[in-house]
């Protein structure tokens, strides 16, 4: 099975403190550590596990710049056969639809049985997967937390829904799935793995390579744009209890008694 996984390089929220920059219109990017978007990593691991069972190759693709190559290489170190960068100045400022259009152009470039994305990105909108499916006219399922390959070009997938329940679906290939974290346990990629793929080729496709019209992508084609970042004025918020620990506990117990939580 030929699987394409769309990945994205994002600032790592667990290892960064996201703050506004001095101008107050973007986040402070100087000290940021980037890594692959966590759900995308789960998606690649899932793809690798599927191809380990049924054969095939895993290709990882991202839309971005040279900086984003490191994420492709990391997934190649994990086991993806190929990493592809879709890069062009014309792509800058693309909204979700723009990204989906760029990815669609690449999909038509090859032949893929299954396309995976992570369910959402830290700074994204949980949209690219669904949009890509609609553009390709492929069936789609989001929040997928388990996949089994069935005979006859079908998959059985479960979706995560409320209450921890699972919605079981049967879906025809080719299709697009957006993957939720926790679907598997991704394997470790160490420094050695990264070094081993450091010299492998990562082909880059530009807008013309992909036959894309600039008006459909990038800032020109974007219908949704971010005007700035801001930190909203904090509302009243919680009543913060002050004092030393003993005093705080005493106050808390009083409050809880009043609310009927202590009898």
């Amino acid at each position: 099975m030929e699987i394409l996984v769309c990945v994205r390089r994002v600032p790592d929220t667990s290892e960064n403190e996201i703050q506004l920059n001095a101008a107050g219109n973007d986040i402070e990017r100087d000290d940021l550590v980037y890594s692959i978007n966590e759900p995308d990593n789960y998606a690649v691991e899932e793809a690798l596990q599927i191809t380990a069972k049924v054969g095939g190759n895993v290709t990882v693709v991202t839309v971005g710049s040279d900086d984003d190559e490191e994420v492709l290489r990391r997934e190649m170190a994990m086991g993806a056969s190929r990493g592809v960068l879709l890069s062009d100045e014309a792509f800058d400022g693309s909204d979700g639809r723009g990204i989906a259009n760029i990815l669609k152009a690449y999909v038509h470039n090859g032949h893929f049985d299954l396309i995976l994305t992570g369910v959402q990105a830290e700074d994204g909108g949980a949209q690219v997967g669904g949009m890509l499916a609609a553009l390709l006219d492929y069936p789609f399922a989001s929040l997928v937390n388990s996949i089994s390959v069935l005979d006859g070009g079908k998959l059985k997938v479960s979706r995560e829904i409320e209450g921890g329940n699972k919605e079981m679906n049967e879906i025809d290939l080719p299709c697009v799935l957006s993957i939720q974290t926790g679907i598997n346990e991704p394997r470790y990629v160490g420094m050695r793995g990264i070094r081993q793929v450091a010299s492998l080729e990562v082909p880059t496709f530009s807008a013309s390579n992909l036959g894309l019209d600039a008006s459909a992508v990038g800032d020109a084609g974007a219908k949704v744009k971010r005007t700035d970042y801001f930190v909203p004025a904090l509302g009243k918020g919680a009543e913060m209890l002050e004092g030393d620990q003993e005093e705080i506990i005493a106050k808390l117990i009083e409050l809880m008694k009043a609310k009927g939580g202590l009898n």
């Binding site: 790592d12 667990s14 290892e15 000290d31 550590v33 994990m78 394997r187 470790y188 160490g190 420094m191």
Partner: protein, 706 residues
């Protein structure tokens, strides 16, 4: 003419004369043995290389100390004493065994130089030796059957024990001694009856006693006993020789080599591959041990040399708390694997994966690398290198528990396992109350600091451990050390990254730190973190001398430069817990104790397991992120040990020990009954500081008399 007793060579055994039979037996026996030895050596030829041929004199010295001198044996008194006795016995009897064998070929064989005084003395000594060995075998068998010490137990998950085999071997050795003694006794009795000058048998020795029993036996019976005993002796000898390589008794042959080739450098871990420098590591196809053949030949020899005594597992803290790790079975399972896959006949097997086969992942991740096993093993078998190699293999395969992936990734991207920002690494030194009294400068090319205080990650970022950093800084200040820290330029020492198998990550951290240290121009390094201490001292190369803060304090106290106030609460009883990487791995036991004893009025007790028998607190570095399967925490056991010793304060000298012990006090429900304090914190508390007025006065003096 009175005939002397016939020598076995001259006798006809059923169909064959002794002179034919015994050379044949000798030949067969030896051929058998050499074939078996060759098959046993075969996997070693397929193992990885290991550089063990350096420093021959040091190695010979260690052979004298550990092999001949049985240095580690008395640590377990009963078994150790017995072993020393029958080991001495075997050595003494070696010559006797040799000449006995030749006797079957050449009837009047006498070892050159054995006639005369030396020979007589030897005859006496050897008789006692045989007796002692014989007695030891009986006692050992009784001990095994009746008392069966706990450490010989084989838990079900590790397979079946071989108690019958053990007794069988003890019985065989006893049989060897008995047949030898009977051979001698029958000959002497024969001669005595004939009135001939008898060989002198040592009084009260086994041969002597047997001779006493046989004194009235008929000559023909004696003759039969004589060559019967001889045949039994030869058969038993060769049987043992050929049987030993199939079990734990193989250590009889391999122990000398195992000790000779044992690891010399303490505290560090073997390279990924001997002979491959760091720059060329990329070319190595596979890191670590995945299949049996990935072990080095010396590690395979270790597997052969295990006597299954269980001392390692007895001391292993992971084993004590119910983790799936038992060092003894790490070795025995590998040995059994090699026996199974390299059989006497048939194809020598190759490359099935060990992890998921004889070893489980948790088994290998459970090790805290405390070194108790290695400290205990009388045969100097190494464990840490093997565990690290197995971990390297798992890392290479991407097979890492999710709980460890996060801190490893954080180490890579942020230089500390917590994922905190680099620029905040020196925040601990900016705490308001602290920075007013003690300025901590950055040691870089511009500063004139001659000493580097290497803080390392936990002390830099953990709210609780930062106080150890501040205490250490204040102490260094008080004794007038011109020190600085690397600050944001410091990255994790990488000590645990290396021991968890991430060699390349370790190298990246190491190279970064070495550059920063060299750029700072410092001439010595001090740290309060034993893991950093060990890394800087042994894993890093070409650095200025490294000391632990306890060594600095000890020196300053002894020279009188540092004075300590008496304890506030004279009722407190303090117990010092030896951190594994300060104590056992680096043998710094006395300095911290001397410091404590220098505090007036401080009552100190020793825990039962102290110094090189100290019980690991639970491990440091990445081990704090791993979620082991265990019945109990190591820290809880340690805290209970302190309470048993009568202490209510545990003194540690390692931030990881502090983290584990403080946690354990809570989990064990001993809050209020037990506290923990770091040595540096305690000293900082007790430091005699000049009163402010004095300080001013000193300042004026220095200005006036500058």
């Amino acid at each position: 003419m009175v005939e002397g007793i016939q020598s076995p060579a001259q006798v006809t055994y059923w169909l064959m004369s002794g002179r034919t039979l015994f050379p044949l037996l000798n030949l067969l026996g030896l051929a058998c043995f050499f074939y078996i030895a060759a098959r046993r050596i075969l996997p070693l030829t397929r193992g990885e290389r290991d550089w063990r041929f350096d420093q021959p004199f040091v190695r010979l010295e260690r052979v004298l100390q550990f092999w001949l001198g049985q240095w580690k044996h008395p640590r377990y008194r009963t078994a150790g004493t017995m072993h020393i006795l029958f080991f001495a016995g075997f050595l003494i009897l070696a010559t006797q065994a040799f000449s006995l064998l030749i006797l079957g070929v050449s009837p009047n064989f006498v070892l050159p130089g054995s006639s005369g005084g030396v020979g007589h003395i030897y005859d006496i000594v050897k008789d006692y030796a045989a007796t002692i060995v014989f007695l030891c075998m009986i006692v050992a068998a009784i001990r095994r059957i009746v008392f069966n010490p706990a450490r010989y137990e084989v838990p079900a998950r590790y397979g079946k024990g071989h108690p019958v085999d053990a007794i069988f071997l003890l019985a065989l050795i006893a049989l060897l001694m008995a047949s030898e003694s009977l051979f001698e006794a029958s000959g002497a009795a024969f001669q005595a009856q004939q009135g001939q000058p008898a060989e002198f048998l040592a009084v009260l020795s086994l041969p002597w006693m047997l001779k006493g029993v046989l004194v009235a036996t008929s000559l023909s019976t004696l003759q039969t006993l004589h060559f019967g005993a001889y045949l039994v002796d030869v058969l038993t000898f060769y049987f043992l020789l050929c049987y030993r390589p199939f079990g734990i008794q193989f250590h009889v042959e391999t122990s000398l080599f195992n000790v000779y080739f044992a690891k010399l450098d303490r505290g560090t871990v073997k390279p990924v591959r001997w002979g491959v420098s760091d720059e060329h590591l990329d070319q190595v196809k596979s890191f670590g041990v995945k299949a049996f053949e990935d072990f080095t030949w010396k590690h395979m020899l270790d597997f052969y040399s295990c006597a299954d005594c269980g001392r390692c597992s007895d001391e292993c803290p992971a084993n004590a708390v119910g983790r799936p790790l038992s060092p003894r079975f790490l070795t025995i399972k590998a040995r059994d694997y090699s026996f199974q896959h390299y059989p006497m006949f048939g194809r020598a097997g190759n490359g099935t994966k060990l992890i998921g086969g004889i070893y489980s992942e948790d088994e290998i991740w459970s090790c805290t690398t405390c070194g108790a096993c290695e400290e205990e093993c009388p045969l100097l078998i190494q464990y840490i290198d093997k565990i690290v190699d197995l971990r390297r293999g798992m890392i290479d395969d991407g097979n890492v528990p999710q709980s460890l992936q996060k801190p490893l990734k954080a180490l890579e991207s942020r230089g500390n396992p917590y994922g905190k920002m680099e620029k905040k690494r020196a925040e601990w030194a900016k705490a308001k109350d602290f920075s007013q009294t003690c300025t901590v400068k950055t040691a870089d090319a511009k500063s004139n600091a001659d000493t580097l205080y290497f803080v390392d990650s936990i002390t830099s970022y953990d709210d609780r451990m930062q106080s150890i950093g501040r205490a250490t800084a204040r102490i260094l200040d008080a004794v007038g050390v011109n020190f600085g820290i690397l600050g944001a330029a410091e990255k994790d020492s990488g000590h645990e990254a290396r021991r968890f198998g991430e060699e390349m990550l370790f190298m990246a951290l190491r190279d970064h730190n070495v550059d920063a240290i060299k750029a700072s121009g410092v001439q010595r390094i001090v740290t309060a973190d034993p893991h950093a201490y060990n890394a800087l001292k042994h894993d890093y190369k070409d650095l200025p001398p490294v000391e632990h803060i306890s060594q600095v304090i000890c020196r300053e106290v002894k020279s009188g430069n540092l004075k300590l106030d008496p304890v506030e609460n004279a009722d407190n009883v303090y117990a010092y817990h030896d951190p594994c990487y300060l104590g056992r791995h680096n043998q710094v036991y006395d300095d911290p104790r001397d410091v404590l004893d220098a505090i007036p009025g401080l009552k100190r007790v020793e825990m039962g397991r102290c110094r090189d028998r100290s019980f690991c607190c639970g491990g440091g570095g990445l081990m704090l992120f791993y979620e082991p399967k265990e019945d109990q925490r190591m820290g809880v056991k340690r805290v209970q040990m302190a309470a048993e010793a009568g202490a209510n304060v545990i003194v540690t000298a390692c931030p990881f020990c502090m983290a584990n012990i403080e946690d354990a006090i809570k989990v064990a429900g001993m809050e209020g009954k037990m506290t923990a304090i770091d040595l540096a914190e305690l000293v900082d508390q007790q430091l005699v500081r000049p009163a402010p007025a004095e300080l001013e006065h000193d300042k004026l003096r220095s200005e006036v008399f500058a």
